[in-house]
């Protein structure tokens, strides 16, 4: 098999990646209900084909990375830009919008093309794989749903949006797919809101509305941000934007507007990737069916925000990156603490997602190796988080839609496959060595140390403290979940008796994702076991193991917001010690968290009730999610309502008053005009009529119709004329 990437032919294949599920969606939405099994095989099969293509293309990218990348065998141009292909350079593009007065090839005309690089290749494969497994899982999990075919159609379009977003070569198309994803998340979270028999109908309706509106805040920020960049650089293409921004900054330095626009761009990530303070929609999004949660939390939606940061990293100024780091680190520890207090099995996972997203965002904010690590965490996290959610779904399915962990327990024997898969992925998310999550999380911690070691700064200090702490808490609450659900004595005999292992489409999906949860991070693809000399990920996204050279990730652009090469060199002194420290710290905190959970929830040496009692108000605050929802309720929603009321009052009184006043003035003027018309105009017309009438009446007296009278007049007239003639 030829594993070299040929832009001419391979972009056509890549185009099929979003088009296959899109066609499937169109078929399904119109004809799904008439197909056998309501068409689930159609979309799952289509997604399987999509996954195969994405994996084939991923193999090409990996082949490039491992066949030496830029070290010979390829031409010089490719050695410079790395594995970075844009379809518009091979003529594979479509015109979308033309601006009047612009030449056909002007940059201000909007053309669509595909962009395929290492990051895109990996993300595409992740989306393909996770989405396929979610489709497969849904075939079991959604059995008996009233809107089964609609669910498959929607989840398919959801995937299309993410695939399109990853492949977009310009930010406008990224934004379009971003918005499609927002819409689909709304429809999928609110899936049960359309089912009149569901007892969660109101919750689902509220949750989907909340998700849509909260992410919309970020979407608007993103739009403002990229339009600011467009106004200055007049391009939407990522590659041109990166090049122009960095060329401009190299000459003139970072301007304050770069920071402003960058913060707006980051706002998009905050909304979509559920960063503090816009994280509030994600826990509520649990109202969607579990496969939807898996999609949102793993491959699509929240990953889109992190992916966006990866794509736009070169245009973010150092100040923005500081904000990114602080936001991410705060979110990580903040959500982790809430995760400890939640009893809903999906709720724990929801807060763990927010926390892990915080890790990714904080890492990207650290820049350099952190960028690579954060994006890598996005990939590994996608596998194990999808698996965790699907496992939770399997547990919920087995327990007849019971979600409260306090009613579970002892399910290990009843659901062995689910238990094994969930345990593997819990080990992965906790950062236990040799599991995928460990590698990426270890690199994130290392990035924060490295950033701190390179130059002492507040954001990096906060990240260096918060991230390891959050990692420890992650391990704690994840194992709390495992112990409460699968170990110990059954707490609710009714639930326990009816628990059963799930059907094969679900268990197969779990096993597939659990496999990736172990091996997604490392092993045979790495140079060595711990990946100290370059992991497959670094080779893929940067083409070679040289952390100093991030430019390979961005088509050869010299980045202006990253540290100098020395500090980034993983073989240098600072990097080496940072790596050792990170390795030790992350292993230690993972062990600490697991030990604490084991002590409290398995051995029951410490009663959690006593701890909560001792913490008192602090616990209540955390358990109530720091009252963020209430805060938002009071500030945003109440103020919106008050504003709306005021506007309504304004409308009803001022605007309506003005309109009515104008109306009244017009009416009065109309009355005056009517009076004038009636009096003067009509009077004149009537006067003329009356005058004619009177004259007619007067003349009528002469017209008697009596011939003899006429003759008398004639004779009289004749006599008068004669008399006048004679007398004169």
């Amino acid at each position: 098999m030829d594993l070299t990437f040929h832009p001419e032919s391979d972009f056509k294949l890549l185009l099929a990646v979003p088009l296959i599920p899109l066609c499937g969606y169109l078929l399904q939405i119109f004809f799904g209900r008439f197909l056998p099994r309501k068409g689930d095989w159609l979309l799952t099969g289509g997604m399987f084909a999509t996954m195969c293509i994405t994996l084939y293309m991923f193999a090409k990218a990996m082949n490039h990375a491992y066949s030496g990348g830029g070290h010979g065998g390829h031409d010089e141009h490719e050695a410079l830009i790395g594995f970075f292909h844009e379809s518009r350079h091979t003529g594979f593009k479509w015109s979308w919008l033309f601006q009047t007065g612009e030449a056909p090839d002007s940059v201000r005309n909007l053309t669509i093309g595909l962009l395929y690089d290492g990051l895109g290749a990996a993300m595409l494969a992740v989306v393909g794989v996770v989405s396929f497994f979610v489709h497969l899982f849904s075939m079991g999990y959604m059995q008996g749903d009233r809107r089964y075919h609609i669910f498959f159609a929607n989840i398919s379009l959801f995937t299309v949006a993410m695939l399109g977003l990853v492949l977009s070569d310009n930010i406008v198309f990224l934004f379009i797919f971003w918005e499609i994803m927002g819409l689909m998340s709304y429809l999928l979270i609110g899936h049960l809101a359309q089912d009149p028999t569901s007892h969660r109908i109101n919750h689902a309706a509220r949750a989907c509305k909340k998700a849509f509106l909260t992410t919309r805040v970020g979407d608007v920020c993103l739009f403002i941000g990229f339009m600011m960049f467009f106004l200055h650089y007049e391009t939407f293409f990522f590659s041109e934007l990166w090049a122009q921004v960095n060329a401009d900054v190299a000459l003139n330095g970072w301007q304050s507007w770069h920071t402003t626009a960058g913060l707006f761009l980051f706002g998009g990530t905050v909304g979509k990737s559920a960063q503090f303070p816009l994280h509030i929609w994600l826990p509520d999004a649990m109202e969607g069916p579990t496969p939807v949660s898996a999609m949102i939390h793993a491959a699509t939606m929240v990953a889109a925000g992190v992916f966006l940061l990866g794509r736009l990293y070169p245009v973010l100024s150092p100040e923005v990156l500081g904000v990114v780091t602080v936001t991410g680190a705060t979110t990580a520890i903040f959500a982790a603490t809430i995760g400890m207090t939640v009893f809903d099995i999906k709720g724990v996972l929801a807060y763990s997602t927010i926390s892990q997203l915080g890790f990714m965002v904080a890492a990207i904010g650290c820049g350099g190796v952190g960028l690579v690590a954060g994006l890598w965490h996005m990939v590994t996290h996608a596998f194990f988080k999808a698996c965790l959610f699907l496992s939770a779904g399997s547990v919920i399915h087995g327990c007849h839609h019971e979600q409260d962990m306090r009613k579970m327990g002892g399910l290990r024997k009843k659901m062995p496959i689910t238990f094994a898969c969930m345990l593997i992925c819990t080990l992965a998310i906790s950062g236990v060595p040799l599991f995928s999550g460990f590698y990426s999380k270890d690199k994130i911690v290392m990035a924060s140390f490295l950033s701190l070691g390179h130059e002492f700064n507040g954001p990096a200090l906060w990240a260096s403290i918060a991230l390891p702490a959050a990692a420890a808490i992650t391990a704690f609450y994840m194992f709390r979940l495992i112990f409460m659900t699968f170990f110990g004595a059954p707490r609710d005999s009714h639930v326990h008796e009816h628990a059963h292992e799930s059907p094969w489409p679900m268990t197969v999906s779990l096993m597939g994702l659990a496999f990736l949860g172990i091996f997604g991070g490392h092993l045979w693809l790495n140079g060595d076991l711990l990946g100290a000399h370059g992991t497959w990920w670094e080779k893929l996204v940067m083409n070679e193991h040289n952390l100093a050279d991030l430019s390979k990730m961005y088509g050869g652009v010299e980045l202006q917001n990253t540290y100098g090469g020395a500090a980034m060199d993983p073989h240098g002194h600072v990097a080496h010690s940072a790596h050792i420290w990170a390795l030790g710290v992350s292993s230690f905190v993972a062990a600490l968290g697991i030990f604490a959970a084991w002590l409290i929830y398995h051995k029951k040496k410490i009663d959690p009730a006593r701890i909560t009692a001792r913490l008192g108000g602090l616990y209540t605050t955390v358990a109530n999610k720091y009252y963020i929802d209430e805060f938002v309720e009071i500030t945003v929603i109440k103020s919106s309502v008050v504003t709306a009321r005021f506007l309504r009052w304004f409308d009803e009184n001022i605007i309506d008053g003005c309109v009515l006043l104008v109306g009244r003035i017009n009416r009065t003027l109309g009355f005056i005009a009517a009076w004038f018309d009636k009096t003067f105009v009509d009077g004149l017309v009537n006067f003329l009529g009356t005058l004619s009438n009177a004259m007619g009446s007067a003349l009528r007296l002469l017209q008697t119709g009596r011939i003899q009278q006429y003759i008398s007049f004639a004779v009289a007239g004749g006599l008068l004329a004669a008399a006048w003639l004679i007398l004169s």
Binding site: G705, R706, Q708, I711
Partner: protein, 100 residues
């Protein structure tokens, strides 16, 4: 007897005709009045021809007028007959269909 005497008779006859037309209620008398006026004109024609003309022009006109009068009488009497059928009267004052 000079021209003046003839003209005087003619004028008297004319005046009598006019008076008959104006005064009489019955349409037949009105017609008689018209005949008298026509004959007053005939007297004038003949008289002026006798005293001032040389030829027969005046007298020829008089004959034409007599023929004209006969025709006029025939038409007028036909109208009168019809009017009488329609209105059962011969008085023009009572023929008032066109008045409001």
């Amino acid at each position: 007897m000079g021209l003046g005497a003839y003209i005087a008779v003619s004028a008297a006859l004319f005046a009598l005709g006019v008076v008959a037309i104006v005064v009489r209620r019955n349409i037949l008398y009105v017609l008689f009045g018209i005949e008298m006026i026509l004959n007053a004109a005939n007297i004038n024609f003949v008289a002026f021809n006798r005293f001032n003309g040389d030829g027969l022009d005046g007298r020829m006109f008089a004959i034409f007028v007599i023929i004209l009068a006969a025709a006029e009488a025939a038409v007028a009497l036909a109208i009168v007959l019809n009017v009488y059928h329609l209105f059962n009267t011969t008085k023009p004052a009572e023929v008032d269909l066109l008045r409001e």
